[in-house]
Point group: C2
Chain length 453, copies 2
């Protein structure tokens, strides 16, 4: 068993906790859990099947409940919140940062929200309302309003004395303070390392850094994340439309955005949400999955309907039934590759209507080359297998048509979906395989009907 | 046109640059490009088709070449490096941080690496060799060795004077310095905000923070990323097996790891690398895609071979050919959902052999419920469509079998692959659909052969 649980990788920690739980040593489990960080506990909770999760949640001190609720995925949070009474929920919100409190408050039942608002002092309530005024998906919804600001005309010595004065109240992970004018308009930033490495008689205006552009509060999370990545930021100022400083966004919140975006693309392809709880109750999971299976069933029936139009042809040449899945599936694979590239390009803001034409042209060229190669390979293989040269020509022609359509659909679909406001990460895959199935069966069986009968 | 390119979202910047390039105003384009951050330029380069990328690369000042090369994805980097001569490459490495230099040096032709090593002074060369000694995928490969260290027994006043002395040489984004003993063993961290808010006569030992566990140099990138996320870290110390401080990892490098991991899962499903260049030369893309299509073709032929074993059955009941893709595709969809959950669980370190049994049990239960629902729906629909109750019973039975197999395969495959050292994000999808295709066709056509003939 690992001697120190704090400094262990996630997997070992999980194994160790499960051993302790299995052995029934709940006291030991409680001691171990309460020594961990909220995010570590959150990670463990997500990894536990429901019965064990319930035990662990009971073992935890109430003081960190709020922090933990913020760190787990939405589904696990809903599960945990449903086990708490009003008093526990109000207590859990105590001591949270304003941006975190805003996130949590939105998840709580309405009557609890009022109780929480009532429990805050004037200043905190106003701050909370500032954050709540912006959509959760925007820079304003992501920001924290507990910023430390200084005026440009004071000296570093004054700043240093001011910081010493507020002492404990300097927010954790403060690497810079913001410089504002008398109207609270954002002017620049003053790094703590600048204070420490410059003459204390220098004025803030002389040594502050001007190259940090503030982030407008209406920016999307995705724009914020790209800005942080490209500028290697740790924190950044957020301003309203008049350039007034509203708060700051810190890298820890941005890391969550980046992680979620990656998971959204990956999980979305399977019709799952990035908040999916691995151990959600069976009925909850089954219901949600059923929906996705239903959507896909419609497209499967559509493909079957296409096949049925050629029942007479299939009745005469049964080899067609054997080979037709190859044409459809190769189209699906090729199209998914193009689709995946395009979805990533859109997510990174690297695909616009200008270079989309280039991508389309390139993917068409790639599709044409690959269709040529695989048409020959599949044609020869099928011809030898069925000892029939007309089948060989037929499947080669159908493959060529389907792979070219696949490239077209893979490049155009995500861009069209994005324009229509439909999430391509979620809908792209289903639509693409619908196209490649229908075109694949249509081309193969249609050509066969025309030329072989 | 946007007035300030600096403070614009990626998409607008890209559109603007392409307008300028289209109009031929290269001077203006150069001015604009050289005012951007290296990471922003890298993002633009990735978004540009090859001919425009070449023009932009020529317009850029040589001084930022190294930084830009580090920010672009591997494929784009290889493309750019291939356009540079030896002198340009050596010049590009000047002024880079050691961790970045280590990354870049690995990508350069060997004779250039020697030239670069020769151009460094003793201290820099030793630092570079420390980093190069660790695999690129480990904490050691990720770390920077330009850390600022202080001894525990000195006062904050001494620290402050020391920082003022090194001045400009305090690395960018330093939020803390590391405390070591005389053997350079790691003891704790001293936040800059602590120096600014405490009495200068306090000793480092009195005010330093002890709760930051150092990261062992052999940890994988993934473990480092999870640690940063769970502890909301901005930077963290890296130590060797004896606890001696080797360097620090900063959040900007970790953000890249998290982004890459998300893209790896998403792109891997389509057989693409996360480094895939959206505008790679057609022949390069075609070659790589061909490989993936070839792998999938083998599985498609396997499914066809299964179908062909039932040629006689299909010859008698053509309806089977119409309906068989439904059974296979629904299995593929259901299995992919389970697979996706399991792959994410593995990547986050939330799936171990202990809770894998829980996941399997839960997914089997979900699969059973959904197979019951959709077996009825598909059975009724197919029965009505073909006006044949035995077909209805048959497809219902086959759906049930395939959806249960899909849940099994979706849960077991990724765990088995990970144990075998095969990347489930890359191989999982292909293997899963092979299983669901084969089982789907086998169950449907096999049952038909037994009961309908």
């Amino acid at each position: 068993m690992p001697p120190s649980l704090q400094n262990n990788s996630d997997n070992n920690r999980l194994l160790f906790l499960q051993d302790v739980l299995d052995s029934g040593a709940l006291q030991q489990a409680a001691r171990m859990l309460n020594a961990l960080r909220p995010a570590e506990v959150a990670h463990l909770l997500e990894s536990l099947p429901l019965p064990q999760r319930e035990i662990v949640w009971e073992l935890l001190d109430d003081t960190t409940d709020g922090e933990i609720l913020l760190q787990v995925t939405d589904e696990v949070r809903d599960d945990l919140i449903s086990r708490m009474d009003s008093a526990e929920l109000v207590a859990a919100t105590a001591g949270l940062d304003t941006d975190d409190l805003a996130d949590l408050v939105k998840e709580l039942p309405r009557h609890i929200t009022w109780e929480v608002l009532d429990s805050l002092d004037q200043q905190h309530r106003e701050r909370l309302e500032t954050v709540l005024a912006y959509p959760e998906e925007s820079a304003g919804g992501l920001m924290n309003v507990d910023t430390v600001t200084v005026r440009a005309e004071v000296t570093l010595d004054v700043v240093q004395r001011y910081l010493r004065h507020i002492g404990e109240h300097v927010p954790r992970d403060t690497d810079k303070v913001f410089v504002v004018n008398r109207d609270h308009r954002y002017l620049g930033v003053l790094h703590l390392s600048t204070i420490l490495t410059h003459d204390l008689d220098d004025s803030v205006a002389e040594v502050m850094s001007l190259d940090m552009q503030p982030i407008p509060a209406h920016w999307s999370k995705r724009e914020v994340a790209n800005r942080f990545e490209q500028h290697d930021l740790i924190s950044a100022p957020v301003v309203d439309e008049n350039g007034r400083l509203l708060g700051r966004i810190t890298i820890d919140d941005v890391v969550d955005v980046i992680r979620e975006e990656g998971e959204h693309q990956f999980m979305g392809q399977a019709g799952l949400s990035e908040d999916e709880d691995m151990f959600a109750p069976v009925m909850v999971s089954a219901k949600r999955r059923a929906l996705w299976l239903g959507v896909n069933l419609l497209t499967a029936f559509l493909a079957s309907w296409v096949i049925r139009q050629f029942e007479a042809t299939l009745d005469q040449i049964v080899a067609l039934a054997v080979l037709m899945p190859i044409v459809a599936s190769m189209g699906g694979i090729a199209g998914t590759q193009t689709l995946t590239l395009a979805i990533r390009g859109l997510a990174l803001g690297q695909l616009s209507h200008k270079n989309a034409r280039w991508l389309l042209a390139k993917e068409l060229a790639v599709g044409t080359i690959n269709s040529a190669i695989w048409a020959v390979v599949v044609g020869v293989a099928a011809g030898l297998w069925f000892n029939d040269s007309s089948i060989a020509l037929l499947i080669a022609a159908a493959m060529t048509i389907n792979l070219i359509f696949a490239a077209l659909a893979g490049a155009i679909l995500p861009i069209a979906l994005e324009k229509l406001g439909i999430d391509p990460a979620l809908a792209g895959g289903v639509l693409l395989t619908t196209v490649t199935d229908v075109v694949g069966f249509l081309a193969f069986l249609g050509l066969a009907t025309i030329y072989l009968l």
